[in-house]
Each structure stands twice: as structure tokens, then as C-alpha cells.
Symmetry: C2
Subunit: 331 residues, 2 copies
């Protein structure tokens, strides 16, 4: 049996069974581990590794690579309602990497960190046959503001921040050689939802939260399994990004397929009791973003995509590492 036979999520399940996780409040299986550091706060920690060859399109610039590894790590802190403390970066680079490449990569990483009021506080630089970047982010959140993955209840509203399909739009722009730097940024320079995460957490109304980096369909399946619930998602309510609609007009791609399954949008997927929705949505609006209700948590465990007169099972086609063909081959 190989990793390609079981996929990333089963591999993580095997790992979590094999280790003694010590006395963490929340361990493997959530976006971050939460450590009880004092009476009021959790220390949050999460790590993400990216290999250029397996995970990044060849068009990505060194600046964007640096931005990307910081942004995807920050997204995990955002999903728990935390504020970042700092990030450490391990850079695995080939021996013949130019100094200019390193400088631009660090510039991108630093720009993303400072944009979200945090900093690169340490790191490691090591030889590697292929460009491999690993970030570990630290954050902090008040215990009563922590937003776990576990907690969704039947009847809860399901909502998502921002719009879906920005990353897919960037991907198809590159694929079809549509020159538009801003659209490509949706794929290569994602914006972690730190402000939105804080606004949600402060309201203390969210019953569960995760980021949707692997695609919202994969995220719904993960959240459903963990909480022993299902979802009914209204197709018409899904907030499709204007960038994806623009790309669709030129390429005839299926926008819903791209928005639901492609992944790479670092938005937050949340559940909460319906009567708290309005005030919570207002708090997110105050950050300059929006929170869109897209469906309900159901007792029935299936995940349905509802569209006027039709109910379909939403396929679980989000991205999963090891299982699928690589999204990009930038060798």
C-alpha cells in the first residue's frame, strides 16, 4: 500500500492514531493545534509545506512563492479566530539558487507577514534537490473565542466569507494565456482572512469553522464527517467570484464546478445558529468583506446541492494530496 492509494486525509488519520499528542487542548485534525498556555489564551500552531514541483504553477514568481507560504499558514490562524504572533520559515533550495531569487522570495514572505501585522521570527535554509518551503505559524486566541472544526449542529446556517473561484480563475487565466495579473494573483497571492476570522471570533456565535483551501466540497465532507452531520447547500447562493465569471465568458468553463471543487480559495467556511447570523454578518462587513449564507446543516449525513427543483448529491471532488494527479507540473 502506497500513499497514492490512501490519500492525504487517511494518512493523517493513521498518523494521529500512532502518536501520543500530549496535553494539547485541540490536536491533529483541526486547522491549528491549540495549547493551553495560560488561563485566558490558547497558543495556536500550524505548519504547511509546499513543493514548487507538486503544488505551484511554473508561472509563479519568487516574490509570490514567499507570499504564498506565509499566506497559507496565516489562513490556518484566521480559521481559528486567532491573531498571528509570528512565523518561522524553512527554505529547502537547490545549491544553484541565485541570491536574487532568495532575496525576492524573502521580500514576498516579509510583505505578506507585515501586511497582516506579524513577522518572520526565525527559520532554516537548507539544500534540497527541489524548491520546498515550509512555514510554521504561531498565533494566539482567547479560549472563549476559539473557533473549532467540531461543533456544527443540525439546523445551523452554513456561510462562507468572500467569494469562491478566485484561485480557479487565476488557474484558467494562466492555462488559456489570458494576460491579467490581478486575476492570476487570486491563485498565486491569496489573502488570508485574518480580519474576518477575528471579527467572527469576537462575536462568539460560530459553532464550527475551517478554511477551504482544498475546495469547499472537500471541506464540507470533512466538516460533515467530523461533526456527524450533512449539509444542504443552495447552488444559487454560492458567491461566485467576478473574476471567475469574467474567465468563464472567454473560456466556457463550468463556474460551479470550478468554484466548488478547484480549491485554493483561502476563505472561511462557518456554521452558526441561524438567529446569530445577522449580527455576525454585520461584523464581517465591517472588515470590508462579506459573509454569505449558502445553506443549512442537516441531521441526514449526505451533502446535497439544491437548485430550484433539483437536489443532487454534491460530489467530493476537492483536491487531495497524494491521490490526484498534480495540479501543476512546473518541472
Amino acid at each position: 500500500m502506497k500513499l497514492s492509494d490512501i490519500g492525504e486525509r487517511e494518512a493523517i488519520r493513521l498518523i494521529s492514531q500512532a502518536i501520543s499528542t500530549g496535553n494539547v487542548a485541540v490536536g491533529i485534525g483541526d486547522d491549528c493545534a491549540a495549547i493551553d498556555i495560560d488561563d485566558q489564551n490558547y497558543l495556536l500552531v500550524s505548519t504547511d509545506m509546499v513543493s514548487k514541483k507538486a503544488h505551484l504553477p511554473r508561472e509563479i514568481t519568487p516574490f509570490q512563492m514567499g507570499w504564498f507560504i506565509v499566506a497559507v499558514n496565516l489562513s490556518d490562524i484566521a480559521a481559528k479566530g486567532g491573531e498571528p504572533i509570528g512565523i518561522v520559515l524553512s527554505l529547502g533550495l537547490p545549491k544553484n539558487t541565485s541570491i536574487m531569487f532568495l532575496q525576492r522570495l524573502i521580500e514576498g514572505a516579509n510583505r505578506c507577514a507585515t501586511k497582516f501585522d506579524t513577522a518572520i521570527i526565525g527559520g532554516d535554509t537548507k539544500e534540497n534537490p527541489h524548491i520546498t518551503l515550509c512555514g510554521t505559524i504561531l498565533g494566539r486566541v482567547k479560549k472563549d473565542e476559539f473557533m473549532p472544526r467540531k461543533g456544527a449542529q443540525p439546523g445551523d446556517i452554513v456561510a462562507v466569507t468572500g467569494t469562491l473561484g478566485k484561485a480557479a480563475a487565476g488557474y484558467y487565466a494562466l492555462k488559456h494565456k489570458i494576460q491579467n495579473k490581478e486575476i492570476v494573483k487570486g491563485l498565486l497571492q491569496p489573502i488570508p482572512r485574518i480580519k474576518e476570522g477575528r471579527a467572527l471570533a469576537e462575536k462568539k456565535t460560530v459553532s464550527s469553522c475551517m478554511d477551504i483551501s482544498d475546495g469547499i466540497s472537500a471541506s464540507l465532507y470533512q466538516l460533515g464527517e467530523l461533526n456527524n452531520v450533512g449539509f444542504e447547500i443552495c447552488r444559487e447562493k454560492i458567491p461566485i467570484s467576478p473574476e471567475l465569471i469574467y474567465i468563464q465568458q472567454q473560456t466556457k468553463i463550468d463556474v460551479y464546478n470550478a468554484a466548488l471543487h478547484f480549491g485554493g480559495d483561502y476563505e472561511l467556511l462557518i456554521t452558526m445558529p441561524a438567529d446569530h447570523f445577522e449580527k455576525t454578518a454585520k461584523a464581517v462587513e465591517n472588515t470590508g468583506n462579506k459573509l454569505t449564507p449558502i445553506g443549512r446543516v442537516t441531521k441526514t449525513k449526505s451533502i446535497k446541492l439544491v437548485s430550484k427543483h433539483i437536489k443532487n448529491i454534491l460530489p467530493n471532488q476537492g483536491y487531495e494530496h497524494f491521490r490526484q494527479t498534480q495540479k501543476y507540473d512546473s518541472s
Copy 2:
């Protein structure tokens, strides 16, 4: 200009100039970053990445790889006198990695973590063309017990925990096909000096400390430059490991060369005022290890190796990533 032209240490200097490190108490350039989390404690964080192809001999087992990545991270906490809180591991693995390999690797990582009273608290598992492991360790230390790299004063005693050359002995055992699992463990299953680090820190007598993973010669050069001092090291006082002497009897390698320059011994190099040495050495002995005085800190900035009637400049031949040929090629 390439990374191979400037080496790892110059690359780290460039990086530290390019970033805004925020409000950490101790940042890039020490074994760990230290973050001011409350009145009494620093939160310690450090990250280490290892690529099988560039850094590990082909004979290493999956169990030992897991042990190794945890041990080298723990060593950075030990060097600051801290106690570990937990470690997160990012595993970059080829798609065709067997499940058994993953299980043995996790078993080794978990065994090392629990041996030193800590735990794997999170991680990431991602596809990578080559096996690449990245660990990030968290720890804690009382502010007045933190042992920085900066602080060595002329006149201070220089001392080292344990013995030198265990890793070199393991390397030469493999190279010369001397079947001895225990000796090979010195290279592939290093013991982080957590207990010794705590004992040293509690005495509050240490003026500077670092681990000697790149070899004690490289470490002395780094410590000298940072503190604007030099060292006079007595060749006869260097505690050569019995394993290295055993290997030397069969292979005629130069033990001093191996002990001073090979690297891979995760011992602690410290400086302290001479009048505190005795009680501090006793504290280390109580952990079951020893602390050996090997020389003095000097105002003169050169690093001399003193042997009866001769004083030589100690060459700076420790291992440096990017600059040297890979130690091992286990492709």
C-alpha cells in the same frame, strides 16, 4: 551569484537584513527565537528541515529519520535551557511512499518526542519529489534562565557537554562497513541534551550557549564572531568519544579532525565565568552526563588550538550547507 558561492551562514545574514522581525526578544541568529509571552517566560521556537538526499546517509531507517528530525529540533530548545512544549512535523513524501514507511517514520518521531517528555502536536503531509522532513519545536524557558548565544566574555571558561566524535564514528563505521548498530546510532539517532540544558540553565551561570550540530570548529567561529572574541582551546582536553577511538583503531582516521570538524554531535558548547564552573559541572553530572572544560575565551579574536608547546589556528572546517559537497549522497 548562487547560494553555493555564499554558503548558508551568509544566506541567513542576508535574510535577517531583509525582514522586519517584529517584537521578539531574540530573533534570527540564535538557536531559537524567544518571544516574550508573559512576565516570567519566553516562548521558544525553532525550525529545522532535512532532505534525505542532501543530509542523510542511505543506510538510515525510516524509524531513525523520524527520530532524527525530532531530535535535531529538540537540540535547539536544549541549547537555550528550555523545556519542550511540543513539535509539529511537515512531511514531504513521494507519492509512491509505502504506508509502512510512513508508520515507521512516525513511530521514530513519536518515540523521540515521548522520550523527552514532549509530543507531536500537529503537522502536514504533502507530496514532494524527494523525502523532505521539517520540524518546528516549541518550548518554554524562564527569562532569567534563557541561555543566549551572545554573552561570552574574555576570561570565561569554554566547556562542552558529553563527548565529541560520536556522529563521525557512526559515519566511518558505515563507510568502512564496520557492523555496529550502537556506533551508527551516534550518527543517525542523536540524543538532544535537554536534561543537560535544563541543569545548566537552572544554575544561571552560563554566559553563552549553542549546540554544535555543524561541528565544534564551526560553532566556535560563529560564537567568536557574534561575541567579538576569540578562543584558546586545549587539544588534550577535548573529550573524544570512545566510539571514535574504537573506529580509529580499525581505520586510522584522524580522531581530532573528525571530532572537531565533522559535526552531527548534538552537544552543547557553553561559556561561563571560571569561578562558577565547579558547581555548574556538578549540576550536569547529576543528569548522568559530564561537562568538560576545553579552553578559554580570549580578547584576541583568533581561534587557537593549543597542544603542549604548539599553538595553531584552528581551521574553520565545520559543515556549511550549500558550500560543501553533500556529506552523503543517498540518491
